[in-house]
């Protein structure tokens, strides 16, 4: 395995689903914040929304691992 490939694995991990999920979660939260500005709802509850999105990303990557194992 090349050094660059190992570096990518170290930073982004073994799967693409997790970094993609993190990017989507942060992207969605960032877009909502841009559209709504300093919304008080987001200020108090936005963290829990982000937690939920991140948990979904983790669940999706685990489901992928399980599917790959079944094949």
């Amino acid at each position: 395995m090349s050094t660059l490939r190992q570096l990518r694995k170290l930073v982004l991990g073994e799967t693409w689903s997790l970094p993609l999920g993190v990017a989507l979660a942060l992207g969605a939260a960032g877009i909502y914040r841009l559209i709504d500005g300093d919304d008080s709802w987001w200020t108090h509850a936005g963290g829990f929304v982000l937690l939920g999105l991140v948990a979904l990303a983790l669940t999706a990557s685990l489901a992928g691992a399980l599917r790959a194992r079944r094949r």
Partner: protein, 247 residues
């Protein structure tokens, strides 16, 4: 609260990465020559120190605080969730347990096939393997310490944690490889995954304008939430496996 959690997070994460680097350095040293193995490791440590000197100040001086929090959060989430994903798979018996000792043995077996140069001549193969191993594991240590230390007040606990881990790992190295086999690495890495993921969500949300109820104490309920979510996933995976096996 944040000081203690940053210290524990940095100590555990850096300690486990350094253990993996130690496994490679020991394997090269025992199979070939300790002098060349240590030269390779020292070269990598120098390269990592330069990287840390460049990365930390550039991030802190050039990136606005909110953007910096999002960047830090993203990095910590990438590391934390990957460790958590592997931890869940290991606890659900879908992946072999983490073991630096096993890596040490595998590395040693690979190296046994390579011929040693004449006495006195530099062993470039051994030096390169030790350099590459320490560099790759060290990059993750640098990124984690930089991410945890870039937060206001975070540098001291991150550096103390990383320093303590370094001392502990060197102590393990001095008493040779036997303790490597006894470490509960799977569970330690799972805990690190929870801690880093909690920090990741905490920082990223702060960067996105969130004010956490309870301020720094939010790290505790975030860690509890990740523990709960991941344990649920472990149970679901075990049940699904049992259902597949029964079918």
């Amino acid at each position: 609260m944040a000081f203690v959690l940053t210290l524990i997070g940095a100590m555990l994460a850096c300690g486990l990465e350094m253990l993996e680097a130690l496994a490679i350095v020991l394997a090269v040293g025992i199979t070939r020559r300790f002098r060349d193995s240590l030269i390779g490791a020292a070269g990598a440590a120098l390269a990592l120190a330069l990287l840390a000197l460049v990365l930390g100040p550039v991030l802190i001086a050039r990136v606005p605080l909110d953007s910096l929090r999002i960047v830090i959060g993203a990095f910590l989430l990438l590391f934390g969730l990957e460790w958590l994903r592997k931890g869940v798979l290991r606890l659900a018996h879908l992946r072999s347990p983490s073991s630096s000792f096993k890596e040490f043995v595998e590395e040693q077996e690979e190296l046994e096939g390579l011929a040693l140069p004449a006495p006195g001549a530099p062993d470039w193969a051994g030096r390169t393997i030790a350099f590459k191993g320490v560099l790759l594991e060290g990059v993750e240590v640098i990124l984690i310490v930089t991410a945890l230390g870039a937060r206001p007040g975070g540098l001291a606990p991150a550096l103390i944690g990383a320093g303590s881990a370094l001392v502990a790992v060197i102590a393990v190295g001095l008493v040779l490889h036997a303790p490597l086999a006894r470490l509960p690495e799977t569970h330690l890495k799972y805990v690190v995954g929870i801690v880093l993921s909690s920090f990741g969500v905490f920082f990223a949300a702060e960067g996105l304008g969130v004010s956490w109820p309870g301020s720094d104490a939010a790290l505790l309920y975030l860690a509890a939430a990740f523990l709960l979510i991941s344990q649920l996933q472990v149970h679901v995976l075990i049940r699904e496996q049992a259902a597949v096996a029964a079918a």
